[in-house]
Amino acid sequence: MADTGGDNGPGKKAADKMFSLKKWNAVAMWSWDVECDTCAICRVQVMDACLRCQAENKQEDCVVVWGECNHSFHNCCMSLWVKQNNRCPLCQQEWVVQRIGK
């Protein structure tokens, strides 16, 4: 079991463990980013207000942020996440803001 390599095929061992799972349901795993207009953090369309702003009735203030990687999120959602880890949750690149707007 620990001797990886066997069923995962050659060259996979060095790869990120998360993605070498043979029992992982890979089809459904990325269901959230199939639709690229959906904020991967709160899972609401980026053109609509995020879950937090909807709950607090602040729809007007909710804007979209694009990263250099071209992924977009609600600015509210992303600013919470970058405090935790300054990476794009979708592509794992370091997060650099490209623009903020609607």
Partner: protein, 183 residues
């Protein structure tokens, strides 16, 4: 007291009564996410896993049992508590193993070393808000299969035991199962 009377006053004056950033409100974000995620998790469970909710109104606290169908831990039933913090999904769920186990990635006190549950991580394997409860269950289940990692152990003694003598490792695993993990 002051806040309440102020709010009542505001309400009378027709201003919206709003309790910004109250714990309830933050929790409701988590709970909204959980409504979908619990459903997704339950309809995609590994055949070796069972999920139970003590209180159906608290989607953030549940229990997972895993009964591996092959490998070192076959024959045991292992019990995990999942607690989803208020700041989910910025923070990952907290998971503890309630069954004493001899495993390289689960300490005897129940702490678990699973990369996707790691709050901060320097690489891409840690927690990310794109992950959901389904990924957590599959990740835990994989600790009994391909994610079982003897090279980066939490229970160093168990990992060394396996390295030294696989047969004796299996014996100790089995004796722990007999004592602690029989259902």
């Amino acid at each position: 007291m002051i806040t309440l009377s102020k709010k009542l006053k505001q309400a009378k004056e027709g201003k919206p009564v709003e309790i910004a950033h109250s714990p309830d409100k933050r929790a409701s974000i988590r709970d909204k996410l959980l409504v979908k995620e619990v459903q997704e998790m339950e309809s995609n469970l590994p055949p070796t896993c069972k999920v139970t909710f003590d209180d159906p109104d608290k989607l953030h606290q549940f229990n997972i049992t895993i009964a591996p169908d092959e490998g070192f831990w076959h024959g045991g039933t292992f019990d995990f508590d999942v607690d989803v913090p208020e700041d989910y999904n910025i923070l990952p769920p907290r998971v503890q193993c309630n069954t004493r186990i001899w495993h390289p990635n689960i300490a005897e006190n129940g702490d678990i070393c699973l990369s996707l549950l790691r709050e901060t991580s320097l690489d891409a394997t840690g927690w990310s808000p794109t992950r959901t409860l389904k990924d957590v269950v599959w990740g835990l289940n994989a600790l009994f299969y391909e994610l079982c990692d003897f090279d980066d152990p939490l229970n160093l003694e168990a990992a060394e035991h396996w390295l030294r003598d696989k047969e004796s490792f299996q014996e100790k695993v089995t004796s722990y199962i007999e004592r602690y993990a029989k259902r």
